[in-house]
Subunit: 599 residues, 2 copies
């Protein structure tokens, strides 16, 4: 059922807590929680009327009043559904909007950075929320900050330190120029470097060049959703790549997808409701380790070389029987890594993605689309001449596989993006895209779980991505990475061809990511009748260590550890070692396999 | 009962999951989980034998092998119990240990950075753990990394990106020099600035000056406990300030105390066990908002001008009756802010702290000591000449109130420190000190909740605190802050003297922090018979907004919202506004109070 309208009260209300909740409730048990957002998904202008509703305890120190607002005409409504948004359109939109004004701890509705749409609204997903998620209330202190909009008000309200006590006057970065210099070479051999300096008061009217973000803002307390400055960039980027087909999608920053996944599982799953989640039958070990202590078991869906098999997914859901599934009710959440899946490297093709989405819609599942490797899409063969790399950023965008988010007409996809694999893992910063309703509930938790990502990370990524590279430069950088990872994969595959015994080891050409999955035919092992698969796996793993190569055991990634394994697998990464070391490592692995199989 | 010995197996084992757990268990239900640490609290040398047990997927890129180890004689055992550790001793210990070697994602036992002790071991606290905390296992992928210690091994194991793809070549900072320049003036008027540059490969043997930490390490994946480089600093600092009286205390970094509190509550509390926590009767609103969605109610302990009243705490615990307390069992956790408590500004004196600790020991409570304002200790009167500020860092350390951690003979204190109030809130970085057992369980959660703080934050704070200021410079900086906040408090108090109607408003002189608590005698309000306290509070709050001042309502901080309030309070901060604005704000507040009370 599509929500007819969003009648917001400005704050999430409380569902009365019931002691019997854990024992009696079923899907649909929470229906009456109100939305915190009154915006119905259409554009409002951040620039001409800064939204400081949740501008928790915002303040400007040292005398100067808040930065002047830029009054600009509204942008006419242009339906963008089913039409790719271009960088040119985004730049024009920005030009017309004027300088972004978002002071310390300013609240921000990411919707203001999207084009307007005329698209339908997302469906109501409140019945998927956990009890914990459903009763969360906004922080009282952050709510109070709405009064800071009152002209001339002085705040004795929030305990925000003065930036005059921040003992860092400026931060400078040296970065390669991917916007202006056409050389698509990696950072360390790039011919053009730029120095960027971030001052403490760069946004103040007295600054030599008045900027949109500075240390006085980024290093103070902020809203859990992250700074408006960086939210603008990721929202526009999401529009460029996915352009979700419903109106009220929103973004917010996260402390990386690891933390975002834990928050999402706590938001959607309840052990006392007998919840569980579906995943690929081999799945990211840390994701499984996140779910299990919460009392949430993971059930595996069979996969092939394109990952999740739609018919198997449908069959599992259609024939679900709690009595055969440890008393767990029919799953309402799918966790999937569609591109370069960890550990199998499998990548869902466009048609596969649509089928999976439709089945989840049919069975009313929320989809967690975890895509750290999405931009590391690689050509389907190891002969690069057959598929020329994209030559410009438009071709690059066109070459990318459709995201589940891009086909999400219902608003049931929670997409997690990460900068860990494409910039630096240490930023501990990513973002999440989902319906307004789900993002709002996620943020109520983020306010007490982490308060959003580091301000150092935010201001540095903003300066690099937005102010220096822009969308064009960032996409060029992603093209560089794609080339580099293609070479790395090809090196690994050539070594596999050369050194692995093909009579027992098989593999595919991975289409994305940083992992190669290797299948060993355990039935051909001379001890297959006396040793279990896990014993053979352990023997080869230990032999590898002895020979000087560390490789990941396939069994570490099994969604259902309690079920006996039926195949023997190893995972190898082509991300970390040098080409020479990678080749040598595969040679050693080949030796260990031959020895174990007595070839 | 004191644990006789720690027999570690190298990894936490699993307690079999029981379905009836939530319905039958009581204190002591989990007794048999093993410790992940085999170290029995004595010093081991990080330097001469880097501990890489959990050096998840550590790798060195681009050819060079791990940095050379520095072999040094062990430091002789010197009992340090009850003896202050000095900066000189720490510097000498470092000199003898040699250069710290901690490559990418290196595991780190903070114990190696402490002096050895001969102190007794912490008591076993496993019966306090939640079910979720008790069943957590270490990440499989991070465990596998112990094989990286094998000489000559090549890793195809973990998906760590190569630092050659980090598009930031260097980061520079401009900071005031508090180590060498004696001027104790705030950053912006400080006469001596230093430029610090952090390169990508500063730790490599080929670097012009070989450093201990660089961007290639800090911006890659890391262990959830944080980098050894920064852990060393906070461990030594904790020894300088608290020197806990048991052997096996440990530290780990956190993503700030907000996130650390949520993790700690999830580690200790279970709604299905009928857990609750005790707090000051007025407590930090966000802390209350963290506990409640977890189904953990907060019960308030009466306070006076020194905060928690020990006899009241003892009485509550001694006479606890579940039937009178919403069926909650006797609390096993106390959450307290001993210095400059938020919102009341109350500061526990030394004797008060000892009494509170002893009562918690008697009733077997875990104490969460949340101390963001600890270093903002202020003279007890507003006439600074009566109590001269400390003139050097030794006097400064001597002047600080004893921490609960410093009297923690049992290992029942979990102390949370934060850089938010003393450096920058945007670092989203703090640290936690507790027994090895509790820190280990906390970290198993951190691995999936956030993976530790931002690498940008870590490397920048390390460069500033450790490499540039050192302990001496950092303490001087804290002395600067103390002076600044004393002046701010005095400005606010003078304004209160001048503008508030003393016939209805009373206040004390806060001894720490950034908040002034104001008590209004509601019984003198002309409408006290017809209006509730909350109605009068709201009337004054709204009138304040109309007059142009935002102040926090006392009722926002009430631990038990369901109980009718008995007093009328407001909280004012002296952290944020300029002195002139602060005075004007108090004048406006005085006007609002007079109007409401018709004075």
């Amino acid at each position: 059922m599509r929500r007819a309208a969003r009648l917001g009260s400005g704050a999430a209300a409380v569902v009365p807590r019931s002691r019997s909740w854990g024992l009696t409730s079923r899907p649909g048990f929470i229906n009456n929680y109100k939305k915190a957002q009154s915006n119905n998904g259409q554009q409002t202008s951040f620039h001409s009327r800064p939204k400081l509703d949740s501008a928790a305890e915002a303040t400007v120190i040292g005398g100067p009043s808040p930065l002047p607002e830029v009054e600009l005409p509204d942008i006419p409504e242009t339906p963008t559904k089913n039409k790719r948004v271009t960088i040119g359109e985004i730049l024009e939109r920005r030009r017309r909007a004027g300088r972004l004004v978002a002071p310390t701890a300013a609240g921000c509705d990411s919707g203001v950075f999207k084009g307007s749409s005329g698209k339908p609204m997302a469906k109501d997903m409140s019945h998927h929320l956990s009890y914990e998620a459903s009763i969360r209330e906004p922080c009282k202190l952050k709510q109070a900050a709405r009064h800071l909009k009152t002209p001339g008000i002085i705040s004795l309200g929030g305990g925000l330190p003065c930036p005059e006590y921040f003992p860092i006057n400026s931060i400078s970065l040296s970065v390669p120029d991917y916007l202006h210099n056409p050389t698509l070479s990696p950072p360390e051999v790039h011919p053009a470097f730029q120095d960027i300096t971030i001052g403490k008061y760069d946004t103040h009217p007295s600054a030599p060049v008045q900027k949109e973000y500075d240390l006085s803002i980024s290093l103070n307390y902020a809203q859990a959703h992250g700074s408006a400055q960086l939210i603008r960039f990721v929202t526009e980027h999401t529009e460029l790549v996915s352009n979700p087909p419903y109106a009220d999608w929103k973004t917010c920053l996260t402390v990386g997808s690891t933390g975002a996944l834990e928050q999402t599982l706590r938001m959607l799953c309840d052990s006392s409701r007998n919840d569980s989640i579906l995943t690929e039958e081999f799945s990211f070990a840390t994701a499984l380790e996140t779910a299990h202590p919460l009392g949430i078991p993971t059930f595996g869906v069979p996969i092939d070389d394109q990952g999740l098999i739609p018919s198997e997914l449908d069959h599992i859901l259609s024939t679900w029987s709690p009595s055969e599934r440890d008393n767990k009710r029919k799953p309402h959440v799918l966790y999937t890594v569609p591109s370069g899946q960890n550990p199998t490297g499998a990548t869902q093709g466009p048609e596969r993605r649509k089928q999976i989405y439709d089945i989840c819609s049919k069975h009313d599942l929320v989809i967690i689309e975890d895509e750290p490797y999405y931009y590391l899409q690689l050509p389907p063969t190891i002969t690069p001449t057959l598929t020329p790399a994209p030559s410009n950023t438009t071709d690059f965008l066109d070459s990318l596989l459709p995201t589940l988010l891009s086909m999400d007409t219902d608003g049931r996809v929670i997409r997690m993006d990460s900068f860990s694999k494409v910039l630096v893992p240490g930023s501990r910063l990513g973002w999440l895209t989902a319906s307004d309703q789900l993002v709002e509930r996620f943020l109520r938790h983020a306010e007490v779980a982490n308060q959003g990502p580091s301000g150092f990370s935010q201001v540095i990524l903003h300066k690099l991505l937005d102010e220096t590279w822009g969308h064009e430069g960032y996409l060029k950088w992603l093209m560089v990475l794609q080339r580099e990872y293609t070479e790395r994969r090809n090196t690994l595959l050539k070594a596999c061809e050369e050194y692995l015994p093909k009579e027992v080891v098989s593999w595919g050409v991975v289409r994305a990511g940083m992992f190669q999955w290797l299948h060993l035919d355990h039935t051909l092992h001379p001890d297959s009748r006396t040793k279990s698969i896990l014993e053979i796996e352990e023997e080869i793993f230990k032999s590898c260590i002895d020979k000087g190569v560390l490789i990941a055991r396939g069994s570490w990634f099994r969604a259902q550890q309690e079920v006996a394994p039926t195949g023997l697998f190893f995972r190898a990464t082509f991300a970390a070692a040098t080409p020479g070391n990678m080749t040598e490592a595969i040679r050693r692995l080949g030796g260990a396999v031959r020895e174990s199989f007595r070839l």
